[in-house]
């Protein structure tokens, strides 16, 4: 058992290192994405164009040996374009309907610029994201496991977009913000892509190993004190706060605990720490907290609110 934990931790570290061969900088982004993958959560990546969102997802797919499909969301994209549809096929016995799976039937689905599709199409993802099934007509089809949706959206160019409703946002385990690379990172990126040439990305673990790691993560114990700390943090979002219009849902608490366990394993620990909770709180809460008008008018961001809530929780712990 000890070896299993150590092997799992080593494998995850190796995956991280392999991904970082392709993704320069963005250490936390990579790590948070891996955490979401290890816990089977969906991720919403938000960042400016050209920051490597799609590249990140594709690299993860390669490293983890997961099937990867990309859907470019546009306003005219139909739900059936995502889920698949029944088509008429001719065979010896005559014509019959056959379900033609859509791009959602993959382990990793990249929903690129998800906010450009209509709400109807966005909703087509809901069932798959939450239930890991797709219903077409009267038939439900299970998606392949492990399954996760990595959606991207652009914080600018809001014209002609359809912001994701809160209900759908809540289905995403993490919302990860991508920032511009630093000067050094940018130099390395340019060197890597334009001068030296891209390094080959290798598969580190297969699906079976990934499932095993997911099981091991569930074994990581969470002390009552740590659990209380996480719950207190979530409950703080419900307390009266001039900058918070709506607090986080119970899914937020689940997401924090789940990913904190994964982080503990990544760090080679057999237990969850307060630091794990704090680390996972930002990506798990930032899309679940609805800011008030005051916050928006004062330029207060979700991360600022979360930071202050963490500080308050630390004091009371």
């Amino acid at each position: 058992m000890d070896n299993e934990f150590k092997t799992a931790a080593d494998k995850i570290s190796a995956c991280e290192a392999e991904i970082r061969k392709s993704i320069i900088g963005q250490k936390d982004i990579v790590r948070q994405t891996i955490l979401a993958v290890l816990t089977g959560g969906n991720v919403l990546l938000e960042g400016m164009p050209g920051l490597g969102k799609t590249r990140l997802v594709a690299t993860i797919g390669k490293v983890l040996d997961l099937s990867f499909k990309r859907i470019q969301f546009t306003p005219d994209l139909m739900p059936s374009d995502v889920t698949g549809t029944n088509i008429i096929v001719k065979n010896e016995s005559g014509n019959s309907f056959k379900f033609e799976p859509g791009p959602i039937f993959a382990n990793l689905v990249l929903a690129d610029e998800i906010n450009r599709a209509t709400p109807k199409t966005q909703s087509a993802l809901l069932e798959a994201m939450q239930e890991h099934t797709v219903t077409v007509g009267n038939e439900s089809y299970a998606v392949s496991e492990p399954f996760m949706v990595l959606a991207t959206q652009n914080p600018i160019e809001n014209e002609g977009t359809y912001p994701l409703p809160e209900a759908q946002l809540d289905r995403f385990m993490f919302k990860i913000l991508l920032d511009y690379p630093t000067r050094e990172e940018l130099k390395t990126i340019v060197n890597l892509t334009e001068i030296e040439g891209e390094k080959e990305i290798n598969k580190i673990i297969d699906i079976m190993e990934l499932i095993k790691i997911k099981e091991l993560i569930k074994e990581i114990p969470v002390a009552d004190a740590v659990m209380d700390y996480a719950i207190d943090l979530i409950m703080k979002t419900h307390e009266k706060n001039p900058y918070v219009k709506l607090g986080a849902s119970p899914r937020a608490a689940q997401a924090v605990i789940k990913t904190a366990r994964a982080r503990a394993l990544m760090e080679g620990r057999y237990n969850v720490s307060f630091e794990d909770i704090n680390y996972c709180a930002y990506p798990a809460l930032r899309h679940r907290i609805i800011l008030s008008f005051d916050a928006m008018s004062e330029g207060i961001t979700e991360d600022m609110v979360i930071k202050s809530l963490i500080e308050e929780t630390k004091k009371n712990a």
């Binding site: 058992m1 114990p221 002390a223 009552d224 620990r269 237990n271 307060f274 630091e275």
Partner: protein, 456 residues
């Protein structure tokens, strides 16, 4: 076995830190509570510098003791648990390993054992970094020390109020002893079966008890040695009177041996108490009142009243001659005058009365005889000649009356204030009141006329 060992090692480490944490908490709470007690004690000591408060030091000690008790009680409810100790250890970079291991100490599954071993490895490497600072913050220590020094200084500074408090306490203690003594004699009197006594005897017994109760009240109100001496004097007289009365009653009830012996016992107690009183009085006389004895000798010379002189003589023998001497002086003020006044039937005011008396006094161990002519305002009781039936007296052979003082009540042998002085004092107060607008408009003349009428 190995699992058990690791579990014990873990719990031992947490327990050790917990014990130190609890000691730290105890020191903090004790310091805070004792500090609060010191502050309260400081206020009491400051108060005792201004106002008499004999028990200020005791209160200070009680405040500090209360602080210790309160601190201990508060500590009891704020003791650190093993979980808190584990969390404390985790705050030194253990990443909640210890709390998790502690919570899973009952579990023996693979994950729990792995986690525990990992925690023990971590503890082994980092245990020296876990520190528990027992001493409170320097700021708190300074505040506490300053408070301690100020309180100690305040407690040691001498002051008039402190001296006064000591004096008052001594007086109160003496008074309390006397009250207890009186209580005992009253209890003894209450044990006597009144039903067996004649109505007169029962009445007499009640009067004796009332007299003692009055003395108790007087002792409780005594606020100076003078007041105590006065109360002693009265009590001694009451004892002597009670002894006589009780002995008489015992004699009268000889047929009822039990009752008679009860009365005799009470009389003996009263007599013993009187002797005790005399001994005390003797000590006082030896200590400081010799001068008063001389004075009383003079008084004896001037003493006019034979009855009173007899009492004074008794007191003088017992050593309280100084006070008795004062009585002699009062006698000088004019029992004779009372006689004369009584003769005129103007006993109430008596300021202009004068007369002679052939009394003698034993006050101050000196038999004094003499005559005097003094103005007086004592109530005089003529022999059966007064109009007031409530005034009874016995006439002497020379036609003057014999007067005596009733020493059983609270008001006895008070300070002599002349009529003019009393009227003058009230008149001044009234005039001052008029000037300060104390009285309703239009009443000024009425008040003035009223007081002027006394001068007419």
């Amino acid at each position: 076995m190995e699992k058990q060992k690791s579990k014990v090692a873990l719990l031992k480490f947490i327990s050790g830190i917990r014990a130190r944490l609890n000691l730290k908490v105890y020191i903090e709470y004790i310091m805070f509570s004792v500090g609060a007690g010191l502050f309260a004690g400081l206020i009491i000591e400051i108060y005792a510098l201004i106002r008499p408060l004999y028990y200020a030091h005791l209160y200070l000690v009680l405040c500090i003791a209360s602080g210790v008790v309160a601190g201990t009680v508060i500590y009891f409810f704020h003791r650190k648990s093993m979980k808190q100790a584990a969390l404390y250890i985790d705050s030194f970079g253990f990443n909640e390993r210890v709390i998790t291991a502690y919570e899973m100490s009952d579990r023996e599954d693979c994950t729990a054992v792995l986690q525990r071993n990992d925690t023990l490895d971590f503890i082994e490497n980092k245990k020296d970094s876990v520190k528990v600072r027992l001493l409170p913050e320097v700021k708190k220590i300074i505040v506490f020390s300053v408070l301690l020094v100020i309180t100690a200084v305040c407690a040691l500074i001498p002051s008039k109020a402190r001296d006064e408090a000591v004096l008052q306490h001594e007086i109160a203690e003496i008074a309390e002893e006397k009250q207890e003594e009186i209580d005992e004699i009253i209890e003894e009197l209450e044990e006597i079966d009144i039903a067996e006594l004649s109505p007169e005897q029962a009445d007499e017994l009640d009067k004796i008890k009332e007299a003692f109760e009055a003395s108790k009240t007087e002792y409780s109100q005594a606020s100076s040695y003078e007041a105590l001496a006065q109360a002693d004097n009265k009590l001694e007289y009451k004892y002597s009177e009670a002894t006589i009365a009780l002995n008489e009653m015992a004699e009268q009830t000889k047929s009822n041996s039990e009752l008679s012996s009860q009365l005799s016992a009470a009389a003996e107690s009263a007599s013993n108490n009187q002797n005790g009183q005399n001994n005390q009085g003797s000590q006082q006389g030896q200590n400081s009142q010799n001068g008063q004895n001389n004075q009383s000798g003079q008084s004896g010379e001037n003493g006019q009243n034979s009855g009173q002189s007899g009492q004074n003589g008794q007191n003088g023998q017992s050593g309280q001659s100084g006070q008795n001497g004062e009585n002699g002086q009062n006698g000088q003020n004019g029992e004779n005058g009372q006689g004369a006044q009584g003769g005129n039937g103007q006993g109430q005011s008596g300021e202009n009365g004068s007369g002679e008396s052939g009394g003698s006094s034993m006050g101050g161990d000196q038999a004094g005889t003499g005559s005097g002519t003094n103005t007086h305002d004592y109530v005089s009781i003529p022999q059966n000649e007064g109009n007031d039936d409530n005034l009874t007296g016995q006439g002497n052979s020379d036609g003057n009356s014999t007067s005596y003082k009733e020493n059983n009540g609270l008001a006895w042998e008070g300070e002599h204030v002349s009529y003019e002085s009393v009227i003058g004092s009230y008149t001044n107060q009234a005039y001052e009141g008029i000037q300060s607008g104390k009285y309703p408009t239009g009443m000024e003349n009425v008040i003035k006329e009223y007081f002027q009428s006394f001068g007419d």
